[in-house]
């Protein structure tokens, strides 16, 4: 009893969390955590349209840990000892136009299949030929969290291969949810619903979804093979929802609380920073509550036309990204935009560092973050020297505080290193010819 009271006090003292949590209390005793393998978490953050390489690349010193952050990466100064800046890699991609295959290949290391989306100067392309690295991690972690992974976005636009980076498998994009209110309702419902109601709802949904699943099987059997694949993919999704219902939410972290949510327009250009901030709050809390251990945040989309009016930049980002290096105002504005994204990445790191983990330390300690972009350089659709920043050590697996320039090795190698840091012992990832194994010296 004393413990409960003290926990409530902690929650109220945590700031921004002035919410009474009647139902959470009842859930706490259900913990069944076997203190075995340490928790590991993985987060991807995406920003679009390439960077300004000259303003992004750190200045190397006498050793890999001796480097000076560039103007764009300067907001990461407080976290300098916790990051690894990876330079030089070639972001592989194939099929479709440069933005399409950059977006599709960034996390999958795979080319795009042919398909319905007509890009610029290339045959129409579909979705990538394989799963994204985060989904491989989710599979490797094999932890029955409530959500296998959580895809969040900010004004991600329409549903096509310019706007999708996470793939459950070949041809199976996982759409990012870019409405914080919707994320809140879906992810945190159990935290603000009477446990008796939750239990009843689960029984009910289980029975309904059983019936729905049977109907999918029945209808699917009467269709041709291509159509059947579509319905079977839907059936798999229904079954995953069912699994969720049978997975208890085990709350063993006092930091876990029902997040607050301020109303915000999800589509207004100028709401972009606010929506992103809310999504980062929700993402942090989803990790704190162990609702998932694999998450992503997609700011806008490839070919983003976000107008960074809050930086006094009125031109659309993509238009701006195509201006030549000879225009100082364009270079300056693009540097500002990428610096702003570095601030957001730093903000995400800070949120994780500020959130205690149930097992001691903070959420950040056992987390690995990746910040990536579908291009290296916007105006030439450049792919060599794509801007990757890792943060966090994934529980000590990664040696941080370093700047590593690998030259134009395929970025698939980085994806393998990420898998290894997360405890997935794969030796290759993505398209086989685009991978020569883990990058040496990252771990």
């Amino acid at each position: 009893m004393t413990r409960r009271i003290s926990r409530r006090t902690i929650l109220r003292g945590a700031g921004g969390a002035a919410i009474a949590l009647p139902w959470l209390e009842a859930m706490a005793p259900r913990r069944a955590q076997a203190a075995s393998a340490p928790v590991k978490r993985f987060i991807v953050m995406f920003s679009a349209n390439g960077t300004i390489p000259s303003a992004w690349t750190p200045v190397a010193g006498s050793s890999e840990s001796d480097f000076t952050l560039s103007p764009i990466l300067a907001p990461l100064e407080p976290h300098k000892s916790d990051i690894v800046v990876i330079g030089g890699l070639e972001q592989k991609g194939g099929g479709g136009d440069g933005h399409q295959n950059g977006m599709g290949g960034m996390l999958t290391g795979q080319p795009l299949n042919s398909g319905p989306f007509a890009g610029v100067g290339a045959p129409p392309a579909g979705w990538p030929m394989g799963a994204s690295v985060d989904q491989r991690i989710a599979e490797g972690l094999a932890v029955p969290t409530r959500l296998r992974s959580l895809e969040l976005g900010v004004q991600v636009g329409s549903a096509d291969n310019w706007g999708r980076m996470i793939y459950r498998a070949a041809n199976q994009p996982l759409p990012p949810d870019d409405d914080p209110a919707s994320v809140y309702g879906r992810v945190f419902a159990d935290l603000h619903t009477d446990p008796a109601v939750v239990a009843r709802l689960r029984r009910r949904r289980k029975s309904i979804l059983d019936g729905v699943g049977a109907q999918f099987t029945r209808v699917s059997a009467r269709l041709g093979s291509a159509d059947r694949q579509r319905l079977d993919a839907h059936l798999t999704a229904v079954q995953e929802i069912e699994t969720r219902l049978t997975t208890d939410l085990v709350v063993n972290n006092p930091s876990c609380h029902d997040p607050t949510l301020s109303p915000v327009s999800t589509t207004a250009n100028d709401a972009f920073p606010m929506v992103g901030a809310l999504q980062m709050d929700l993402l942090t809390m989803a990790l704190a509550c162990d609702i998932t251990r694999v998450a992503s945040l997609q700011w806008s989309r490839s070919v983003s036309q976000t107008r960074f009016t809050w930086l006094n930049i009125t031109q659309g980002h993509h238009d701006l990204s195509h201006r030549p290096d000879s225009e100082p105002d364009a270079v300056s504005n693009l540097t500002k935009i990428n610096t702003w994204y570095a601030q957001q990445f730093a903000g995400l790191i800070s949120r994780l560092k500020a959130t205690p983990d149930g097992a001691g330390g903070t959420l950040f300690d056992n987390t690995l973050l990746l910040w990536c972009n579908e291009l290296a350089k916007g105006n030439i659709h450049g792919r060599i020297g794509a801007p990757y920043v890792l943060a966090g050590s994934a529980g000590g697996a990664l040696r941080t505080g370093r700047y590593l320039n690998y030259g134009p090795l395929p970025h698939n190698n980085l994806l393998v290193s990420i898998l290894n840091a997360m405890g997935v012992p794969d030796t290759t990832f993505g398209k086989a010819d685009w991978c020569s194994g883990a990058l040496s010296g990252v771990l």
């Binding site: 291509a226 319905l231 659309g316 238009d319």
Partner: protein, 539 residues
């Protein structure tokens, strides 16, 4: 891309040879029967799902906004090859189905209307009638005995604490099932060649095509009684559905996508340059276009109206935005515009602002739209080594002068000669869609040129362009192609498809060449591609 382009370019030729004349009305039914083309499994779009759910349960159609957005390609939201599915989809279908089920059981009048009794009363007979009746509407065909039994089981499992909960459980299950969300078209038993679609599947195609919602009771009854087997029966239902308000809404939905106006409600402009642009402007521009299209459908639904009519709809605020006199009466009113300046959709703010940058007009985007969406001949993309960028805004230069680079550089000139001179004809309209006489300190020069089409000639202002477009057989053919893509949810691919497009185009052009949308829609249901299904559906 190259394959699709060559087909599109070849289209006018094929229309003349493979398909011929415009005597659609007297030909054998169905038309182009040799090859109905592929019919991949389609999913209801958010638009269709919301409207259908609203009909069934009384929820607002906007509940569909909770679903992940539809994949868009070829300019439309219903292209079957582009769909994907994820757990987010399944989670959202679950949420929305529960909301709709709760809404239905909370509405006693609507609930009782389904079977003429109260299924939540505990009366087993009434429950059975309800499951059969609601199920038939939701699944657009009668449920089979074991499907009825499965729903009874769900009722038994979910009637906790009361019968209402069980009814809601049944409704939620029906609404998450593939027969509701998708449009499965089972093969006709022993079908070995292309043959007539099973009547309930035909009713579904008909209703979604004409109204963007599932079939009503009258259409299902016609399907059940053999009423769709004949051309007369099919056309009678077609004409009935075409007269309702839903057909007008569908027309607005399709035309809005064709004209690339889906993004208008979230459009924004550089407000330092366009000071009259407010948070309310994009919504008002979208509403103007919606009213214009609905009015055209009810009045004279032809291509000429869309391209040339010097009328629009404004309220006092939007009139002020355009610099027009406030309309008589409150709210949006139909107003006549100066025919020397105005030409249908081409001079509406929605179209003009969408096809412009945030801080300047774009002759390229406007010209490209005309090429790609009205002539179906999209220009080749820029060479890969060219740094593509709009010229910097310079207050001393007109847009035309700033885009001179395109004709100065040989590698750009070829394609931009097809786009920019069309776009220049729009130069009296700024990036927000308002009339202007001066640009960059200079009197606007809105002369241009239309080349490489069947209606080539010099242009001066949008009305001169609009008149040529309205006279173009190529534009009419392209319009039929756009409609084909929406109607069948796929790109035109085969000779059979080209025959279908040709017949649609012939019906559209008719004898006076005005381009009558209602005639084209009516011709669609007479096509084998609509009426029949190819063989080869067995596993």
């Amino acid at each position: 891309m190259s394959r699709r382009c060559s087909l599109l370019i070849a289209l006018p030729v094929l229309l003349a040879t493979a398909c011929g004349g415009d005597g659609v009305a007297t030909e054998t039914f169905p038309l182009c029967a040799d090859d109905p083309g592929p019919a991949p499994l389609r999913r209801m779009t958010r638009f269709e799902y919301g409207r259908t759910l609203s009909d069934l349960t009384g929820v607002r159609a906007s509940v569909a906004d909770q679903l992940p957005p539809d994949e868009e390609t070829l300019g439309f939201d219903d292209i079957a090859d582009a769909y994907s599915v994820s757990t987010l989809h399944a989670a959202r279908y679950l949420d929305v189905a529960e909301q709709a089920a709760d809404a239905l059981v909370a509405d006693g009048v609507r609930l009782k209307a389904v079977a003429g009794c109260d299924p939540s009363s505990g009366d087993a007979g009434c429950l059975g009638d309800f499951i059969a009746g609601f199920g038939r509407r939701a699944w657009r065909r009668p449920l089979e005995p074991d499907e009825l039994a499965a729903m009874q089981q769900i009722y038994a499992d979910t009637a906790d604490p009361g019968a209402k909960d069980g009814v809601a459980g049944v409704v939620a299950a029906l609404l998450q099932s593939p027969q509701f969300i998708y449009r499965p078209e089972p093969s006709v038993p022993a079908m070995t060649t292309a043959g007539a679609l099973e009547p309930y599947a035909l009713a579904t195609r008909l209703s979604l095509l004409l109204t963007g919602a599932g079939p009503d009771d009258a259409l299902l009854a016609a399907a059940g009684s053999g009423g769709l087997h004949t051309e007369e029966g099919l056309l009678a239902q077609t004409d009935r559905l075409l007269t309702g308000p839903r057909a007008a809404e569908l027309f607005v939905h399709v035309a809005t996508q064709w004209w690339e106006l889906g993004g208008v409600p979230t459009l924004d402009k550089d407000r330092a340059l366009y000071r009259t642009w407010t948070d309310a402007t994009p919504g008002a521009l979208a509403e103007e276009t919606r009213l214009f299209l609905a009015d055209a459908w009810q009045g004279t639904p032809n291509l000429k109206t869309l391209l040339t009519a010097p009328v629009t709809f404004v309220d006092a605020d939007l009139a002020a935005f355009y610099g027009l006199p406030a309309p008589a009466g409150s709210g949006f009113q139909r107003v006549d515009l100066d025919p020397a300046r105005a030409a249908g959709l081409l001079t509406q703010g929605s179209f003009l602002a969408e096809h412009a940058k945030a801080d300047q007009t774009s002759p390229v985007l406007r010209g490209k739209f005309v090429r790609a969406k009205l002539f179906c001949t999209p220009p080749a993309p820029p060479p890969p080594d060219i740094v593509v960028r709009p010229p910097t805004v310079d207050p001393r230069l007109s847009t035309r002068q700033r885009f001179a680079q395109h004709t100065a550089d040989d590698r750009c000139a070829g394609c931009h000669a097809l786009m920019d001179p069309i776009g220049f004809a729009f130069e009296h309209y700024d990036a927000a869609g308002r009339w202007r006489d001066v640009d960059g300190g200079q009197v606007v020069d809105a002369t241009g040129d239309l080349v490489g089409t069947d209606v080539d000639g010099a242009l001066d202002g949008v009305p001169s362009l609009a008149a040529r477009l309205a006279d173009s057989a190529a534009v009419a053919n392209c319009t039929a192609t756009q409609w084909f893509r929406y109607a069948f949810g796929r790109a035109e691919q085969s000779q059979g498809d080209l025959c279908t497009v040709g017949k649609l185009a012939a019906a559209f052009k008719g004898t006076n060449g005005d381009g009558d949308f209602k005639k084209m829609v009516r011709a669609t249901v007479r096509m084998a591609a609509f009426r029949n299904r190819a063989s080869g559906v067995s596993p």
